[in-house]
């Protein structure tokens, strides 16, 4: 329950942070909101010798328009995303997902960069970001690289972030007009819970015919990483989303995931729930009422 002792640094610039990272490499950890890191350090899962505080680094903060898209600085808190009027311009599921993270207290500390960097397959914001086709900008002293979020995750808790890199910001493209979206999370209770299964869907519907012209479906907690359900997306495109298609989409999503059993839920249940959640998320996105239970 007590953390081991460590050296602490509070760089005032991105350069300063990168320099420290380069210097201390393997033994150092970055801290922003601390809501994942401190829990891991208290349980002695990790015991870094150096901790580099990013909260004072201005280049990592900021939430604003980026041309027609959106730029989300890594230090942006979940509370800021939850409440941002800017996100209503099409990126609403990111706010919805941020709202589901932990509790109000956790949302006032935790950052989206930390949530994404922690790479939990159940991470709420990661799902919304995948559906919104986000890319992440990773920066080191060697330079900057921008990669699609989908390629960022490697496995549970593992990303392509190198030892000397910092996740700087997340870039979101403009959301096509006539898009609807929904984020659904299934837990064991109605708040302060990890997802047993979750999904984010973003659908672009033809305003005259109602046919689905574009679909993005992301699945959470049912795979080693947050997952883009490409087969499900393919199924939806070009179709009118009636009850039959929606049910079919749920079934295909089931086939795309590989959940595990743990103390929270069995793999079978998670698989069954993804089918239900994807179906209901599509309905919710389209404005069809869905049951309120536990989601």
């Amino acid at each position: 329950m007590r953390m081991r002792k460590f050296e602490f640094f509070s760089p005032a610039s991105l350069d300063g942070a990168l320099e420290l990272l380069e210097q201390y490499g393997d033994e150092a950890k970055l801290i922003a909101g601390g809501t994942d890191l401190l829990v891991q350090m208290k349980s002695k899962l990790i015991a870094p010798k150096q901790v580099i505080n990013l909260l004072g680094v201005p280049e990592l903060s900021g939430l604003g328009q980026n041309g027609k898209g959106l730029r989300v600085g890594a230090l942006t808190k979940h509370a800021a995303l939850e409440n941002s009027p800017l996100l209503r311009k099409g990126w609403g599921i990111l706010a919805a997902a941020a709202h589901k993270v932990g509790s109000p207290q956790i949302r006032n500390l935790g950052t989206v960069g930390g949530n994404v960097g922690n790479a939990s397959p159940a991470a709420d914001t990661a799902l919304a970001l995948l559906a919104l086709e986000a890319s992440v900008v990773l920066i080191s002293r060697r330079g900057e690289r921008r990669i699609p979020l989908e390629s960022f995750f490697v496995g549970p808790g593992v990303t392509v972030l190198k030892k000397d890199e910092i996740l700087k910001e997340i870039l979101l493209p403009e959301v096509p007009a006539n898009s609807v979206a929904a984020y659904l999370k299934l837990g064991r209770r109605k708040s302060l819970d990890l997802a047993l299964a979750s999904t984010a869907v973003l659908l672009t519907l033809n305003p005259q015919t109602g046919v689905c012209e574009r679909a993005r479906v992301a699945l959470g907690a049912v795979s080693p990483t947050p997952l883009r359900a490409r087969e499900t997306e393919k199924l939806l495109i070009g179709k009118t989303l009636d009850e039959k298609v929606i049910q079919e989409a749920g079934k295909v999503a089931q086939g795309e995931c590989q959940p595990i059993s743990d103390i929270r839920a069995s793999a079978e249940y998670r698989k069954e729930m993804i089918k239900v959640l994807v179906g209901r998320a599509i309905q919710k996105a389209m404005g069809i009422p869905i049951p309120p239970t536990g989601i």
Binding site: R2, R188, K190, S266, G294
Partner: protein, 754 residues
């Protein structure tokens, strides 16, 4: 009901300001000069022999002041009921979490680091985790006994076989009530302070301040007078906070270092080595006639004690026979077995065996009602014990509000129309319970209550009692009772913290006894103080004490209110008259309850029996298996509510815990290790998870209770799991006999039904 000026009123807690402002000092807040911080090294094995312990490295760590093992204790076997405890493990560890060594250091970081430097050589032994397995011959033996059976309970009345033959319906089922954790917000904590003469003061969160001194003194090899217990504010208990080695290891460290030692369980350790509920297998068979008359009950209970016995055997016994005084079962055959297992020792949790058994009984009665086509509410009323009756075990029901509870709950919940609707996936369920207000069978030396009431020169009243306020509001209830008895206002009363050097010997707060026993004790003391102050006033007023009354802070002659003196003035003048001696009233109350006959179990064990009926309305999401509770009504026979608001709060809190148990709470273990020792994965209800809970207070008046009151603490929880299970059955037609009823189980049940 404005018969009384303080009792029966929803007055705010007298210590509300201290708790609301953060000024209240809880055990884990205490800081004493020179205080050290203690931690315990706990066994990682469920069952192992200890070959060797090397504390040398730990002792050398700068900042470490002492490292202790069982070698630093008198090695006296002791325990709350059996002598199977050791302060720290002697030759074996018997559960993951068992205490092996203790450390005291200058700060918490150092104490924790020292733990990692203690080297223990274990020889793992075969272990057994389920009581059904542990009972079998050939199972690994956990204590130095021939078998793992701690105790057996047997009881038979009449002829159950004949009763079942004469029944039109016989329902049989196996129930399993799982192991759940009390989840009080403040972990177990203590500060133990030594003095120069070797006396130890235990500042502890304990429900049994006086009682706990006995096993503690024995374990430490100290005369009883060297063990003093003081009870500061503490953050909840719900049955868990009785004897614990946490206090004793801290005591040994305090003795060794001659400094106060504070020890607080990290939450994870509190899960591992707390005192969770006794998990039980309950095989229950009930027979009934088609008119609804219950004919007989056969029940077998098997409960897991864990690695040592706390109170599990009394809890199993209680499960075995308490509901026999709720309904007339007429013929009984009962067997209960308590079994050692290599798991965390189990103990009291709100309901004390009656909660587990109520789940089984109320589920079975629901099925019987359906089989005979009778309204479950009517079935309860038909067979329930009434005021004035004596149960099959000799329990004298001085008051029973059961029927009224059922009727009021039925009315408030819309029971009739909702049952009539027959909407798939939406249902309503009912469950009742009885309980005790104090249990002579659980207490040993006596069951009674006592108080001391001291009136100061300023006319302020200080009340001493020996029970324990764990947050249920006992202090305020005692203050209200004293204020009522004395005829003065509540703000004149202060209730002293329990200090066993000064306070009366109290049995403690368990068995829902606080209001009746503690309340009657302080009421008697207040009556004595009143007698004394009226005698003094009579002299001053030149009147007969029999003609005097106290009202609104004035003592006056009945019928001649102008002949009066302020209460404060009499206290002041009286004190001067008596050379400075304040008025001190003492009193006690001992009902004529008995320890039951060891063979027949016959005997009236409690002075008052509360009853209740709860009704739950639920909606099941048949695609996810999730349960949404829509409404909840809880009608409780409390005799008379001394403080209606406090009583309602107790009901709502108990129902919330029962709902958590029914739907989400489970200590998940694998080979004896708790896999979810945290609030992330041990899921208790949050503010969005509970329905509106409407408490209804039924007040028939109880002759033995102070101002007619009975208890509320445990009955608040007892019916809830069955009410939820019955609502789910009514909604989807699937009966769940195992707790918790999770979404996965519901989906599986729905699938199998098809």
């Amino acid at each position: 009901m404005d018969k009384y000026h303080v009792v029966g009123h929803s007055l705010p807690q007298i210590d509300g300001r201290e708790r609301a402002s953060g000024a209240a000092e809880f055990v884990s807040d205490m800081k004493l000069p020179g205080m050290l911080y203690g931690r315990i090294l706990r066994s990682p094995h469920p069952h192992a022999r200890i070959r060797h312990i090397d504390t040398s490295k730990a002792r050398r760590l700068p900042g470490v002041k002492a490292v202790v093992t069982v070698q630093d204790t008198p090695q006296i076997p002791f325990g709350p009921r059996t002598d199977d405890w050791m302060i720290m493990a002697l030759d074996k560890v018997r559960f993951v979490g068992d205490e092996v060594a203790g450390v005291a250091a200058v700060d918490e970081d150092t104490a924790e680091e020292a733990l990692s430097l203690i080297q223990v050589e274990y020889e793992p032994l075969p272990a057994v985790f389920d009581p059904l397995e542990a009972m079998k011959p050939g199972a690994p033996l956990i204590h130095d006994k021939e078998r793992n059976i701690v105790s057996e309970f047997k009881l038979a009345k009449g002829d159950v076989e004949k009763a079942f033959q004469e029944s039109d319906v016989v329902h049989s089922d196996r129930y399993y009530t799982n192991q759940v954790y009390q989840a009080y917000l403040e972990p177990m904590a203590c500060v133990v302070q030594p003095d120069l003469a070797g006396k130890l003061t235990f500042f502890i969160s304990t429900q049994i301040p006086s009682m706990t001194r006995l096993p503690y003194a024995k374990a430490l090899g100290l005369p009883l007078e060297k063990v003093r217990v003081v009870v500061p504010y503490y953050g909840g208990a719900f049955g868990a906070k009785m004897e614990t080695n946490l206090h004793l290891v801290a005591a040994v460290l305090a003795q060794k270092t001659r400094k106060p030692v504070r020890m607080v369980n990290p939450r994870e350790e509190d899960f591992m080595a707390g005192n969770p509920r006794v998990p039980m297998y309950i095989d229950l068979k009930i027979g009934a006639k088609k008119g609804g008359t219950l004919m007989g009950k056969e029940v077998r209970v098997i409960g897991a004690a864990g690695g040592r016995v706390v109170y599990s055997m009394v809890i199993v016994a209680t499960a075995c026979y308490r509901p026999d005084s709720l309904y007339h079962f007429q013929n009984l055959k009962t067997e209960g077995v308590t079994v050692y297992t290599n798991t965390v020792p189990t103990s009291c949790f709100r309901g004390f065996g009656n909660a587990q058994m109520t789940f089984a009984i109320e589920s079975s009665l629901d099925m019987i009602a359906e089989a005979i086509g009778m309204d479950p509410a009517e079935l309860r009323i038909k067979n329930g014990l009434k005021t004035g009756e004596v149960s099959i075990h000799g329990w004298k029901i001085g008051s029973s509000g059961l029927a009224e509870c059922v009727r009021k709950a039925v009315e408030a919940s819309g029971w009739q129309e909702k049952r009539g609707q027959k909407r798939f996936a939406r249902g309503i369920g009912l469950a009742c319970c009885n309980h005790v207000s104090g249990n002579r069978a659980f207490a040993r030396e006596f069951d009674g209550g006592a108080g001391i009431v001291r009136i100061s020169r300023e006319g302020k009243v200080l009340v001493y009692h020996g029970e324990s306020d764990m947050g249920q509001g006992q202090k305020t209830i005692f203050a209200q009772i004293v204020a009522e008895e004395l005829g003065i206002s509540l703000d004149q009363i202060e209730v002293a913290p329990v200090d066993t050097d000064i306070s009366p010997f109290g049995m403690g707060s368990f068995a829902t006894r606080g209001t009746v026993f503690g309340g009657n004790g302080v009421k008697a003391a207040a009556a004595d103080a009143k007698r004394q102050i009226l005698e003094l006033a009579a002299e001053m007023l030149e009147a007969n004490p029999k003609d005097l009354e106290i009202k609104e802070g004035k003592i006056f002659v009945q019928g001649s209110p102008e002949k009066s003196l302020p209460f404060q003035k009499v206290a002041e003048l009286g004190l001067y008259k008596r050379g400075g001696a304040p008025i001190v009233g003492t009193g006690f109350w001992v009902p004529d309850t008995v320890i039951p006959d060891p063979v027949t179990k016959f005997g009236n064990i409690s002075p008052a029996y509360p009853f209740a009926c709860q009704i739950c309305e639920a909606e099941v999401d048949t695609e996810t298996g999730q349960v949404n509770l829509l409404n909840y009504v809880a009608a409780h026979d409390v005799g008379r509510a001394i403080n209606p608001q406090t009583t309602e709060g107790q009901i709502q809190g108990g129902v919330a815990q029962g709902i958590g148990w029914a739907l989400t709470e489970n200590m998940v273990t694998e080979k004896g290790k708790v896999l979810n020792p945290n609030f992330r994965d041990y899921v208790i209800p949050g503010p969005l998870d509970l329905p509106p809970i409407k408490p209804i207070l039924v007040e028939p008046g109880e002759p033995n209770g102070p101002f007619g009151a009975k208890g509320i603490g445990e009955p608040a929880l007892n019916p809830a799991p069955a009410a939820v299970a019955n609502a789910i059955y009514n909604a989807i037609g699937v009966r769940f006999t195992e707790l918790p009823i999770t979404p996965e189980k519901i989906l599986k049940g729905l699938k199998e039904k098809k």
